[in-house]
């Protein structure tokens, strides 16, 4: 036992010596309840929902008719008019959020510098263009398909546009693992920097899922909330006993990750340090979670190990919490299993209660919400919480934000395909 402890301590020291520290130095966000970090955080703090009756298309025949739609953004104000037509909406949202993150990090990409990389998570890619192309194929035939149909619908189109438009010519990666996509993107960016393969990476996720086929396909799975079509803001109810399913949303959350010493040298503002990343699969079902939650326990445990932390050192959980009956039950079970008595000390919150489920961008939104909570000393609420579920007996910061200084946060993201990702970040004093 003694030798075991010694070996672990040696491993910790070696890890510290071998691996670079990775910090987050720039943020950008386009969300249904706020454009830009200040507006987004203002909305989270106030518990302001961004869920609305869908205007993007005629959803009147769908079971669910509400979504996290971004109605106050004019992408052409941010994107060159020559390029905007070649981008799907998800890429437009991602470019806007990415530009904000680079500006926030005060980065000037110069010739001769090691080129920053781009790691983007998206569950669906350019589905709007894909759907429109399919309509053209059906109505007008194959020779009427636009030459840009492939290049604007492929899931790495955003990563490519960022490299071209923002001048980031390092590794250019798109990760598509449904709802965990952007957590993996951030995790892989973290790995690349700590292993010294890159010095700086723009990472995050973007999704634009409010297109007729995509939306209706989710609707067909009966996973979406259809009980609040006349009261959209109350539709997303994570961990509440009345929860009726997820609310699909569009949005993009981006952040600049960079090597700690480089960030210090250039005097960057450091929001947080990334401490750990874990990934696994339940190998259980293509959409349903393993009811035992063992895979979720494993991914959280491996992330704690990666971060060299004990469960008792975690203070905040940005829960995946989609607001489906099964997912929230399993996440609550897994949290209680791994945190035991410490669960009651945890601040837990669910950003999806306000913005809905941004699928491939959801993990990055979770990281952003946790990081802002650390920096502001305030835990944003889980809104629409009224009826506790005995199976989800967690303190989810119901309805009203709470002042609390926290340093260390865990962010969960679980995706279709039995796919799990977990990240741990810590404030830098």
């Amino acid at each position: 036992m003694k030798n075991d402890t010694h070996a672990k301590n040696v491993a910790k020291v070696m890890k510290r010596e071998l691996f670079n520290r990775v910090v987050i130095t720039g943020l950008g966000v386009v969300a249904p309840n706020g454009i830009g970090i200040d507006a987004f955080w203002g909305a989270l703090e106030k518990g302001k929902s961004g869920i609305k009756k869908i205007k993007a298309f005629d959803a009147s025949r769908n079971r669910c008719q509400v979504g996290g739609e971004i109605t106050e953004l004019e992408p052409s104000a941010y994107i060159d008019s020559k390029k905007i037509d070649r981008m799907d909406r998800y890429a437009q949202l991602g470019i806007v959020a990415g530009s904000m993150a680079l500006a926030d990090a005060a980065i000037k990409v110069q010739e001769g510098d090691p080129p920053p990389g781009v790691y983007i998570g998206t569950g669906l890619g350019g589905m709007l263009i894909y759907e429109r192309s399919f309509e053209v194929l059906t109505n007008k035939g194959p020779r009427s398909i636009h030459p840009n149909a492939v290049s604007s619908s492929m899931p790495n189109s955003l990563a490519g546009h960022i490299a071209m438009d923002l001048g980031l010519k390092g590794p250019n990666i798109a990760i598509s693992t449904a709802c965990s996509s952007s957590s993996h993107a951030i995790g892989h960016a973290f790995d690349a920097i700590r292993c010294a393969r890159s010095e700086m990476i723009l990472a995050g996720g973007s999704e634009a899922s409010l297109s007729p086929l995509t939306f209706s396909a989710f609707d067909a799975m009966r996973v979406m909330a259809s009980d609040c079509n006349d009261s959209p803001e109350q539709a997303s109810k994570p961990f509440d006993k009345r929860r009726g399913g997820l609310v699909l949303a569009e949005g993009a959350a981006m952040m600049v990750l960079e090597e700690f010493n480089g960030a210090m040298r250039r005097g960057a503002h450091i929001y947080a340090e990334v401490l750990g990343y874990g990934a696994n699969s339940g190998g259980y079902h293509i959409v349903a979670p393993d009811p035992t939650g063992q895979d979720v326990v494993r991914v959280m445990r491996s992330t704690l190990r990666d971060a060299d932390l004990l469960p008792t050192e975690i203070q905040f959980i940005s829960a995946h919490a989609t607001a489906t009956q099964a997912n929230d039950r399993v996440e609550a079970l897994a949290l209680k299993s791994i945190f035991g008595d410490h669960t009651k000390n945890l601040a837990i919150s669910c950003v999806k209660s306000m913005i809905g489920h941004t699928i491939g961008a959801a993990g990055a939104f979770g990281v952003l919400a946790a990081l802002l909570a650390i920096n502001k000393g305030v835990i944003h609420p889980t809104i629409n919480f009224a009826v506790p579920d005995p199976e989800c007996d967690l303190d989810v910061t119901p309805n009203i934000a709470r002042k609390r200084e926290i340093q260390t946060a865990m962010i969960n993201a679980f995706g279709f395909g039995s796919n799990n990702a977990c990240l741990i970040i810590r404030g830098v004093k």
Partner: protein
């Protein structure tokens, strides 16, 4: 005359309409004012339309005039005049 070709005769009036249509489409594609587009300007060298861009640009004409431009004709289109002439020829048939 948005749906040219409609007539059999190619007179000056039709040619002028066709030219202004072609200019407008090129201007829209390269995001420049119509006044800056010249019909004899090389699309590739002076307006930055690369080979993939030619597919995109000619796609606009195909959609506008409900025509299909064969690959061998596409390769010969180097200026706005070439496009207008092709459309005029097509209208003649």
């Amino acid at each position: 005359m948005s749906n040219y070709p409609g007539g059999k005769m190619i007179n000056d009036e039709i040619k002028s309409t066709l030219e202004s249509d072609v200019k407008a489409v090129i201007a829209g594609y390269v995001k420049k004012p119509v006044a800056e587009i010249k019909m004899d300007q090389p699309l590739r060298e002076q307006l930055g339309v690369d080979s993939f861009g030619m597919f995109e640009l000619t796609f606009e004409f195909q959609e506008k005039y409900k025509l299909e431009i064969p690959e061998e004709d596409l390769k010969k289109m180097l200026t706005g005049n070439d496009i207008a002439n092709w459309l005029a020829q097509k209208g003649k048939k």
